[in-house]
Symmetry: C2
Subunit: 388 residues, 2 copies
């Protein structure tokens, strides 16, 4: 019987999901405890269909392409597992001599990972989780791989749009950031600021009820002062009753589809204030842009992949690799292993101390927490308007 | 009396507008024919208010920041000039010992440039145009500085979104590109393709009337085949009657505001086909992203700035610096001077031979024309799905 390893991806991609995959494959290739390295091609669903690909035969130089490949190179799924699927998975693992199973994903995937662990523990199969979410909403850990790059994307893009809007300051630009329930990415746009009047001028988070009147007041005041205003908003803004501020555009049996918050708010500014406005929604570009990948994020993603392999081959199971921050002035992190049951389905939102009183900005405390994760300073610009 | 030079920016920024400014300032600093180098801070309007800043005192190392600064470092305006403004401008030039006036902009700005030239020619003031437009709709020239970077942005972003969508192929993603009347940028998304099934799977241009039924047919067929479909559309799609396919959301006395084409078409796919869909609109990021600036585009932008200074000091006036392509297998360009009156307000759209018969893609001929302008190959990816 062999000691094969299986890696499975769940949920949506991040800018560094394939970097963790690189960490897993290269570590497993070098481990004498691992025979074959299988990838489940298409998420949890691919386990049930035994759609496995041998990844161990890929050369190291080709594997390096993973560090700069967006999406997930082994696919993923949003397949809803039923209770009977777990035992079936365990049987498939045994049949394929799979002794180590790694799940890389967010809260939903960690829930799957925990349930798979429960059926596998009696079979001597080790199941380990690797954290991943651009949204940064996984509990217990300081931050998740994928977030640093999403933070760098929104920060640099906001800075660039800020320079553009400052050049011809006759409008309001509303930028929509991902993160429907947790405002971490939206908040990270604050890292764009170098000088006092820099974009973003306003930040609206899903953690606070959105107040339309206050929003229009804020925009008007800043427009009168600056001419060009950049506002960053979460895609998931809700009103005081917890209802989406965007009316649903379509309801199917499975889901409700909402319009874009950025377009909705730009239209509101035009109609209510008579000020020219446009909404931007980079959307998937915010997690697929390789040029704005954070170096720190990529390195940490590789590391958690490696650590997951090490944990599994050393006999650990039912655990997730966690990232903890080492207290001190310089940014330093370390990994540890935490029980999967402590992570499963807990959603971590921005704490109160990271949001300002009026709910239209973040605090200095948040900025200090977030800054190291984007991996270095954003570029400097030269604008002669600032010299007038 | 001095021989001062004034540089003025008109219209919206590009990713390399400040690179042309860098070319102008550094060339003028080294020219013995130029005394002071003034920037009009805020476009044509700034000429009338004499809002000039001396740019000649900025150190070369600080000036290099311009090559990586989005927007326009001397501002711009969309101020509508009246006939009486032109003579007033000539008087202001004389008062400030300005002998050389450079206008950097698109079609509208070249119109201004031509009219300023007409009043200045009798005063011995030389007026020269520098082309700039991300939209690439300036007549006569092969392409305009700013377009290559916009092309690289949409191509690489489409490739990245394509990898993301391929990872979890259960939806349609509609990406909106800038260019309301000319489809050059939208068309450039085709450069994203390396393999047969790569994104973009469909391209819809403003040069062809948009047919909703054919669009839905195309999307359905590709969704059934691929699971994940990426469609790139122009922000300015119109129906067979020349009306915007998006209903106006608001009319003011000055303008009509339309909704986003991407959101509109995503909603159509959801409602009519019952397929999950999302619309993305990178918007201003498409002309402000410095990470996706094209090297060739930046170099050419610097060059046309330098050439404009050389032309003005050598006594040329009423001309624009043009970029022409040298015939041959290798990409090579050269600059020349063309009369401003040949350029003024002519809008260049995609010619027929660059669009396929069904109007849902571009031709190989377009791709061959466009490829050199993005300055090198896009990154390669590793996706194991392709190996199944």
């Amino acid at each position: 019987m062999g000691n094969n390893l299986l890696i499975v991806h769940g949920g949506g991609p991040t800018a560094v999901l394939n970097s963790s995959l690189y960490g897993v494959i290269t570590e497993a290739k070098n481990s004498s405890y691992v025979d074959k390295i299988y990838g489940a091609i298409g998420g949890s669903e691919a386990i049930l269909t035994e759609t496995f690909l041998d990844l161990g035969s890929i050369s190291d130089s080709e594997l390096e392409l993973l560090l700069q490949t967006p999406g997930t190179a082994i696919g993923s799924s949003r397949f809803a597992l039923e209770p009977e699927h777990y035992q079936k998975m365990a049987d498939i693992f045994k049949k394929n001599d799979i002794k180590y199973v790694l799940f890389n994903g967010g809260n939903g995937t960690m829930d799957t990972c925990g349930k798979v662990h429960e059926v596998c523990v009696k079979e001597g199969i080790n199941v380990v989780g690797i954290p991943k979410t651009m949204d940064n909403d996984i509990a217990i850990i300081d931050h998740a791989p994928g977030f640093g790059s999403a933070a760098k994307y929104i920060a640099q893009t906001t800075a660039e749009i800020g320079e553009d809007v400052k050049s011809l300051p006759i409008h309001v630009c509303i930028v929509e950031a991902m993160g429907r329930n947790a405002g971490w990415i939206t908040a990270a746009s604050a890292l764009a600021r170098k000088n006092k009047k820099d974009a973003p001028h306003l930040i609206y988070l899903p953690e606070r009820p959105f107040n339309e009147e206050e929003f229009l007041e804020d925009v008007k005041r800043l427009y009168d002062e600056l001419g060009g205003v950049v506002v960053v908003v979460s895609e998931g803004l809700k009103d005081k009753d917890g209802e989406s501020i965007v009316p649903p555009i379509f309801k199917s049996d499975r889901a409700v589809y909402f319009g874009d918050v950025s377009a909705h708010l730009a239209s509101l500014v035009i109609k209510k204030l008579g000020i020219k406005a446009r909404g931007e929604k980079p959307g998937l570009a915010g997690r697929a842009s390789m040029g704005l990948q954070s170096d720190i994020d990529r390195e940490e993603a590789v590391l958690v992949g490696r650590e997951a392999v090490k944990a599994a081959v050393s006999g650990q199971t039912g655990v997730m690799v966690a990232i903890q921050r080492v207290p001190g002035d310089e940014y330093k992190m370390e990994t540890s292993l935490v029980p999967i049951r402590d992570v499963m389905l807990h959603e971590k939102v921005l704490p109160e101390q990271y949001i300002n009183e009026r709910g239209n900005d973040v605090t200095e405390e948040f900025i200090n927490w977030c800054r190291p994760l984007i991996g270095g300073d954003l570029p400097s610009y030269l604008n002669f308007r600032d010299k007038l």
